[in-house]
Amino acid sequence: MSDARHCTAGEWVEVERVLLEPADRASNLPPETANKPLLTWVKGFAQSEADLGEDLTVETMTGRRVTGQLSAINPGYFHTFGRPIPELTHVGADLRARLDAYRAGGE
């Protein structure tokens, strides 16, 4: 994520907004969901300069104008594969050995 705390007009940014306060949410929700606001994040081009947390209007990829609080500037993607899973690292060797034994058995 960019460390910038201030965006200029035209930058690619993300805004956050509250769609529904807890009191306005659907009636059949479990309590841990019902007591939280429904939040949304949308990315677009900043229509003015702003600091993080300030109100800002963006123009999205479809040309919609959405106003929310500036939540990220040039937000990135940092998902990975992570480390191999120890409970799975033996699987390949185990199954190869099993196949070899089965095929050596003349099947």
Partner: protein, 455 residues
């Protein structure tokens, strides 16, 4: 919604319960040949059918003498945007373009978003994808974060939201605001698009083995995959092929829970969608759901989270096939099913999905550990969704469990009666409709209604 779907569902309604399903399915006017043409032009379909000889021998190594069916997979990851969902998106996007819409909107956290975004880009349509992406801490499963990324890579506007069914009302607001086409997962456009997958399997298996497949195993969530594939198999002549749906067992986790959201370790193909959509399909974002899995399902198998991750790793190591975990749900059930069938039987797993950073079994397991879910080796029967993921120690431990399909059919009938006007008495036309919709007969439906009335 009539404007957003370009179709008036009222014309298919027959009674407060029954509607004309086949009339709805054909109302878009596209023949199966038309759909094949649309998909071929769109870079969709004609995916490789692979025989998995190493996995087949692995199954035979642990089967009774003479048992162990041949296993095949349709490598749907080879589609434009990496999954069978391209088939579903292609027809909707073609229709939206033909009807003159400026853009499309759909609600999905799955591969369907990538499919719609990709097809919209090719067809010069604007595209909005509404995703349930984060819990209230702004934390999301890596698999969903990857799907946000890929939709944005194809130029879509992604509206990311926290947990809650109100996502669908927000989608309706966006449809009103933009006048775009509703590329619903559950419209007849989408489900018809999957029929080509069943058709290809019927034709290719006939060509490769000389016979239609004994069983086709289908990863099951909202029901479109089961419905479309089964319809396509029948249209391709494979009327005797057993239709086996398969889901990851997520029992105990609440689908609208902010706490459970990041403890599922699967984003789709699970019972959290599979059971409610089978037993009440018309809960969907269209007036009548085209995905009606109980019409076609012969068996419904569940597998555990740990079993699917084990099989995903096994596919990499034994078949050189690295694919996304959710799509391997059916493969896991197929390894179990193949042990019950003779060696000359064939089992086709009808999809794979793309993999990559985030959308990978290692990423999902590492994330589970970060969320406090225990991951350990052991007996998969001890797997407890949201608490413990148990990776099998040996392939013999992979054992799919039959879900009680008779119970699901009865639940569906109960839901239908519950949603009918108060005091409404089902007519013979309703009973005939329910028999077709549950793949049973009128006597069974009448029995079910009588039992429900007594209870």
């Amino acid at each position: 919604m009539v404007r957003a779907l370009g179709m008036d569902y009222a014309e298919f309604e027959r009674t407060p319960i029954a509607f004309d399903y086949e009339a709805m399915m054909s109302a878009h006017g596209y023949s199966l040949d038309d759909i094949v043409g649309i998909q071929t032009a769109g870079g969709v379909g004609h995916t490789p059918l692979l025989e998995l000889k190493n996995l087949t021998d692995l199954v035979r190594s642990m089967s009774a003498p003479g048992m162990g069916a041949r296993i095949f997979v349709k490598d749907e990851a080879a589609n434009m945007a990496g999954s069978f969902k391209d088939r579903r998106a292609s027809v909707s996007i073609h229709a939206a373009k033909a009807k003159g819409y400026a853009g499309v909107i759909t609600a999905t956290s799955g591969n369907y978003g990538a499919a719609v975004s990709s097809q919209a880009a090719r067809n010069n349509l604007k595209c909005i994808i509404c995703q349930e992406a984060f819990d209230s801490r702004h934390v999301g499963q890596p698999e969903i974060i990857e799907k946000s990324r890929i939709c944005e890579a194809f130029g879509a506007e992604v509206v990311q939201m926290t947990v809650g069914p109100e996502l669908f009302s927000h989608m309706l607001e966006l449809l009103d605001e933009t006048g775009y086409f509703a590329a619903s997962l559950y419209s007849s456009f989408g489900v018809s698009g999957i029929e080509t997958l069943g058709l290809e399997i019927a034709e290719e298996m006939l060509s490769v083995t000389g016979e239609y497949p004994t069983a086709v195993v289908i990863t099951h969530a909202g029901g479109g995959n089961t419905t479309g594939t089964a319809r396509g198999l029948k249209r391709g002549g494979a009327t005797e092929t057993q239709i086996v749906s398969a889901s990851v067992d997520l029992s105990g986790l609440h689908m609208a829970s902010d706490d459970d959201f990041n403890r599922k370790s699967f984003t789709t193909g699970h019972t959290g969608f599979g059971v409610p959509f089978a037993t009440w399909p018309d809960r969907a974002d269209v007036p009548r759901n085209a995905a009606r899995s109980l019409r076609y399902m012969d068996r419904y198998l569940t597998v555990t989270q740990g079993e699917v991750f084990y099989v995903t790793e096994a596919m990499c190591k034994l078949e050189g096939l690295e694919r996304g975990p959710s799509g391997n749900t059916a493969m896991t059930a197929a390894l179990s099913l193949a042990r019950e069938l003779p060696r000359d039987a064939t089992v086709v797993v009808q999809e794979t999905e793309y993999t990559g950073a985030g959308k990978h079994h290692w990423a999902q397991l590492n994330f589970a550990k970060e969320q406090g879910v225990e991951v350990r080796a052991g007996d998969p029967r001890e797997n407890k969704p949201g608490t413990t993921i148990v990776i099998p120690e040996r392939p013999e431990q992979i054992q799919a469990v039959d879900f009680d399909i008779a119970h699901m059919r009865a639940s569906y009938v109960r839901n239908v009666l519950k949603h009918a006007p108060e005091g409404y008495e089902p007519t013979p036309e309703d009973v005939a409709f329910l028999a077709a919709d549950t793949n049973t007969d009128e006597a069974t439906v009448n029995d079910t209604i009588a039992r429900l009335r007594k209870a």
